[in-house]
């Protein structure tokens, strides 16, 4: 009991906090939403920065023009590699990834219209 009483009587201490003063109407430093202003404990990966992408972002990159061109050195392995599988692939991926794709890529919308 006495220790509890001591606890309640101990002087309150402020939780350390960092206050950042930004100009009116500016929420974050422009153009860098991946960084906490003033830095954060988790701002760096131990052992160095790593390039991390989530699935959604990687799927979006699939629609970039360069991603649709087969590599010039793609070996021709019958039944395995094919420069002309684009159409088939996009359709089948739409079937299995429709939840993720709908509303994301213009291409998904385009395919749906057809």
């Amino acid at each position: 009991m006495s220790s509890a009483a001591t606890y309640f009587r101990s002087p309150p201490a402020l939780i350390p906090a960092k206050r950042l003063h930004l100009p009116e109407g500016v929420a974050l430093p422009p153009g860098d939403y991946s960084t906490t202003p003033g830095g954060t404990l988790f701002g760096t990966t131990p052992g160095g920065t790593r390039i991390i992408y989530d699935r959604k972002f990687l799927m979006e990159c699939r629609n970039s023009p360069v991603a649709k061109t087969p590599p010039c050195d793609l070996p021709d392995i019958p039944g395995v590699t094919c420069p002309n599988v684009d159409e088939v692939r996009n359709e089948s991926s739409l079937v299995h990834a429709d939840v993720e794709k709908l509303g994301l890529g213009e291409e998904a919308q385009f395919d749906m219209d057809i």
């Binding site: 992408y53 989530d54 395995v80 094919c82």
Partner: protein
């Protein structure tokens, strides 16, 4: 259970207990004999001088002068370069000591997200593969073989899938690997999808089989990114055990290799 697919380059290699150490040299020697694949291998065994880590094993190929695979302008770089491989067991022939290495082909190496899609979008989905075949996606410089320096102390998580799931699981697995979702430092070596008669198998290989914190984290990430049912059986197997099992199954004794 079906005998596991050969992941060893030198079948006649080590007597039980002796760790095969000369894999790189053997690989190169075999490559020289294998004129069919030679050009292609040269094409893809590119050297990198850039910011990414450079492996010692690359030095054995340093005589091959090729342009490094780098991200193109405005492309999204990956943490590591990766190489796609394809292998298929030759129909009607038993898996001989060298056939694994002869049957595995490099498809190509990429350094960016966009370059990955260029390859991936022009390859058949694993679920549509026929016969006894595998896709491998490994960090550039690591061969999808048990004896590679990066793999020799390693192991893999194995997930057996009923037919119909392989394409989607494989895609989720490799996207997680390329996107560095596993958060185990340098531990990941690569991933494999194996199409078999009655089931398909996906696996992810790491460098240090004895590192339980790492293997547990890989397992948990797998569960998350593959969205596996809670009762899915996941098995961890060290490559040392794989080599032993393969040798026992094939009754191999040391006959030639060092």
């Amino acid at each position: 259970m079906e005998a596991e697919e050969r992941k060893s380059g030198a079948g006649s290699k080590a007597a039980a207990g002796e760790r095969p150490r000369r894999m790189n040299n053997k690989f190169d020697a075999l490559k020289d004999d294998d004129s069919g694949d030679h050009e292609q291998n040269e094409e893809n065994n590119t050297q990198k001088d850039g910011e990414k880590e450079k492996n010692d094993r690359d030095k054995s190929q340093s005589s091959i002068k090729r342009k490094a695979v780098v991200p193109g302008p405005a492309e999204h770089p990956l943490q590591y370069n990766y190489t796609f491989w394809y292998s298929r067991r030759t129909p009607g022939r038993p898996t001989s000591s060298q056939s694994y290495e002869q049957n595995i082909k490099q498809i190509g190496t990429f350094a960016s997200v966009e370059q990955f899609w260029r390859f991936y979008s022009h390859m058949i989905r694993p679920g549509d593969l026929t016969g006894h075949s595998d896709f491998h996606l490994f960090k550039e410089g690591i061969k999808p073989m048990w004896e590679d320096d990066a793999n020799k102390n390693g192991g893999k998580w194995i997930i057996r899938l009923r037919k119909g799931l392989a394409s989607r699981c494989w895609e989720n697995l490799i996207l997680a690997m390329l996107g560095e979702q596993f958060m185990v430092g340098e531990e990941i070596c690569g991933a494999v999808v194996s199409v078999r008669f009655q089931e398909d198998i996906i696996s992810i290989w790491n460098k240090t089989a004895s590192d339980q914190a790492t293997t547990a984290r890989i397992r948990d990430t797998l569960r998350r990114v593959l969205n596996l049912p809670p009762n899915t059986i996941m098995e961890y197997k060290t490559h040392t055990d794989s080599i032993k099992a393969w040798e026992e199954f094939h009754g191999l004794v040391n006959s030639g290799g060092r």
